[in-house]
């Protein structure tokens, strides 16, 4: 198989040795099975034509099944576009950057279903910030885990550990949300956030770096510390996308030919130098691809985020403040949408999410694809 696929969340591991490589054994073959021409024997047998009618019908039905996938994407796109038309006509592109000003408090007003104000900026902001926080936490850990699993781990520990991380991917999103509400949020509120608050409100830092607006009472860790909010949502997202990034990173790293490692070691490199020069350098494009794939998952993750982000359509710099993400606003308000315009605006948010995740996923796919196809790498 030349193209990688996302290891399925629940992909446990049958034999124990290579859990995500259920069907990727062919990296050592120069030509993957999908590209091999049909053999002459088979072509001859097929062309005898004793059952050509039923064969053609069968092939046609199978083709239809395959075309369903195209049809689905087209159908989803057209439905989203037609259903979001009212909001598109009312707000146009300003839907994503404009806002009204509240006449009483003089604060920006983005989203007020009762008065028919629908601007999606806070949701875009919330989605971006939570995904960014998640990536910042998850990427170093995932790469560390992948390095440990491919290069350092003793053999007996390897398969239980990777099975364990894959279990992490099998847990439903709503269970993560439940755990986040009752364990992660109190933990953040009582133990972790106070540390950050203290650091970010140090008078020295405020004086030196005040121009960045990231420090002090109105900075990155200002405001009320509730535990819920952008940081909590980012943290739970990080735990959720970790297994995806780690599994794919592991896969591209173990696709690096052993000869590269041996060459580096033979030249006298230490293990870390070998990893840095031979493994990470060869796998870097694939690692970027897997990070983008993790980003795609983070952007669209709904339930866990909806349960901890706090659900208020506002924009604050502080990571401790409540927010809303594109997916969570749909989950929260869609079934209770009061007006057609409200529903249409929510669908437009969904359309934006659809387009963004398609683009992000396509990029990641192409990157990972390019890596695993380009190098005739040998599997460990």
């Amino acid at each position: 198989m030349s193209n990688l696929h996302v290891p399925n969340p629940a992909a446990g591991n049958p034999e124990g040795s290579a859990p995500i490589r259920i069907a990727v054994p062919a990296a050592e073959q120069p030509l993957s099975q999908a590209e091999q021409p049909i053999s002459a024997v088979r072509r001859y047998l097929l062309s005898r034509g004793s059952s050509s009618v039923s064969d053609r019908i069968f092939a046609g039905i199978m083709l239809l099944c395959a075309l369903v996938i195209f049809a689905l994407v087209a159908l989803i796109a057209t439905e989203l576009i037609t259903q979001s038309r009212p909001s598109w006509h009312a707000f146009g592109l300003s839907f994503f950057y404009h806002y009204n000003v509240d006449p009483i408090t003089h604060l920006p007003l983005f989203w007020d279903p009762v008065n028919g104000v629908f601007y999606a900026l806070p949701f875009v902001y919330g989605t971006l910030i939570t995904s960014l926080v998640a990536l910042c936490i998850a990427v170093p850990l995932a790469i560390g885990l992948a390095i440990f699993l491919t290069e350092m781990c003793p053999r007996w520990l390897r398969s239980p550990l990777s099975f364990f991380t894959e279990l992490l991917a099998a847990i439903p999103s709503v269970v993560y949300g439940l755990w986040a509400i009752f364990v992660l949020v109190p933990l953040l509120r009582d133990n972790i956030n106070p540390i950050f608050i203290r650091i970010f409100q140090l008078p020295v830092l405020e004086k030196l770096l005040g121009w960045t607006h990231l420090f002090g009472d109105n900075g990155l860790f200002g405001g009320v510390n509730l535990g819920l909010g952008l940081l909590g949502a980012g943290a739970i997202l990080a735990i959720m996308i970790l297994p995806i990034i780690a599994a794919l990173t592991r896969e591209v790293m173990s696709a690096v030919p052993n000869s590269q490692r041996e060459a580096a070691l033979a030249l006298g490199a230490t293990r870390w130098e070998m990893i840095r020069m031979a493994v990470l350098r060869n796998a870097r494009i694939g690692i970027v691809g897997s990070i983008i794939l993790g980003l795609g998952r983070a952007l669209g993750e709904t339930m866990a985020v909806a349960m901890v982000i706090g659900n208020s359509p506002e924009i604050h710099l502080s990571l401790l403040s409540m927010g809303h993400s594109m997916a969570s606003v749909i989950a929260n308000e869609f079934s209770e949408a009061t007006s057609d315009m409200h529903r249409s605006a929510l669908i437009e948010v969904g359309l934006a999410l659809f387009l963004v995740t398609i683009i992000v996923n396509a990029c990641a796919r192409l990157l990972v694809w390019a890596v695993t196809r380009g190098a005739p790498a040998r599997v460990q």
Binding site: H5, N8, P9, A10, G12, P14, I22, A23, P25, E35, S39, V41, R42, L45, L46, S50, S51, L63, C65, A66, V68, I69, L75, I76, E79, L80, P140, L141, G144, L145, F148, L161, T165, L167, A170, I171, P172, S173, V174, V175, G177, W179, I239, T270, W272, I275, R297, G300, M303, M307, A327, I330, A331, F334, S335, G350, L353, I358, N361, A362
Partner: protein, 290 residues
């Protein structure tokens, strides 16, 4: 051998860096494993202490009252997942057969494969909106059927890709032998190739099943949820993930307790389903297939 001191210093520095990197990698691994262990331990502890017989036999009590169970949600999940499998699995397997047997190497097959991978990454909530506007809007009410279709759509790309990969592992000689005996091609694909690959294909279907079994977002505005018994496709229906969500954000302690119990049951069902299939199909794995 007495090396020069500068070289010694440099190689000591390199050793330090090596050890540093090793310990950082181990630290990262521990940091990943820690929340995992925490989640599992907490889930098992909270869930097991909240489980009782009533959970499996009773329907939810009105808000604020203690007791009741999620029997209707368990049955509802089964109904919705049944509908999803009815749509998702045959179409997915058909698509996989096309990719592996008929479309090998063609541009169309590559495009379909790519689209399937991309569709796999589309957020589940978007699938929910699509099912809402395709089925709920024309029918004018929420229904179990709509929920099943939303989940079925999500199963198709996963099943297609795993089926294709499993079929590609079947050796050419098997197909040629079947055709050489005069079996028509469609028959050879269905009863020889697909059958040879069936352990892998079934595993793929189960993985897709397990993935959608925990999905909440597409059901929020298709199946909607229900506090009462319902098994008809035409009405709102409850499902385990939906019920967990509703109870998790409710203010009552007893409902939190039930949410934990529900999570444990949901994960146990997923793990049991997957490992059962693994167990029964592991004997016939394709060994030595090209």
């Amino acid at each position: 051998m007495a090396a020069r001191p500068r070289q010694n210093l440099y190689s000591a520095w390199r050793t330090v860096k090596d050890h540093l990197a090793t310990s950082l990698a181990i630290l990262a691994t521990l940091l990943v494993v820690a929340p995992l262990v925490a989640i599992f331990v907490y889930l098992i502890y909270k869930g097991a202490s909240s489980l009782n017989l009533a959970f499996f036999t009773q329907i939810p009590k009105p808000e604020g009252e203690v007791g009741g169970g999620m029997a209707n949600a368990i049955v509802g999940s089964a109904v919705v997942l049944g509908v999803a499998s009815f749509f998702g699995i045959p179409i997915g397997i058909g698509g996989g057969i096309y990719l592996a047997e008929f479309g090998r190497g063609t541009k169309l097959a590559n495009a379909i494969r790519f689209t399937a991978d991309v569709l796999n990454g589309v957020p589940s909530i978007v699938m929910g909106i699509a099912a809402f506007s395709l089925i709920v809007v024309p029918m004018h009410h929420f229904s179990a059927f709509a929920g099943g279709v939303a989940l079925g759509i999500m199963m198709i790309p996963t099943v297609t890709r795993t089926t294709e990969e499993m079929l590609l592992m079947v050796p050419h000689s098997v197909r040629e032998a079947a055709l050489g005996l005069g079996v028509p091609n469609w028959r050879s694909v269905l009863s020889i190739t697909l059958k040879t690959a069936s352990p892998g294909v079934i595993t793929g279907c189960m993985l897709a099943f397990a993935r959608v079994a925990g999905e909440t977002a597409p059901l929020l505005f298709t199946a909607l949820g229900n506090q009462f018994w319902s098994v008809t496709l035409n009405h709102e229906i409850s499902a385990l993930p939906l019920q967990i969500y509703n109870y998790a954000i409710s203010p009552y302690d007893d409902q939190h307790r039930q949410a934990w119990a529900g999570s444990l049951v949901l994960i146990a069902l997923i793990v049991i389903a997957v490992s059962l299939v693994r167990f029964f199909t592991s004997r016939g794995t394709l060994k030595g297939a090209s």
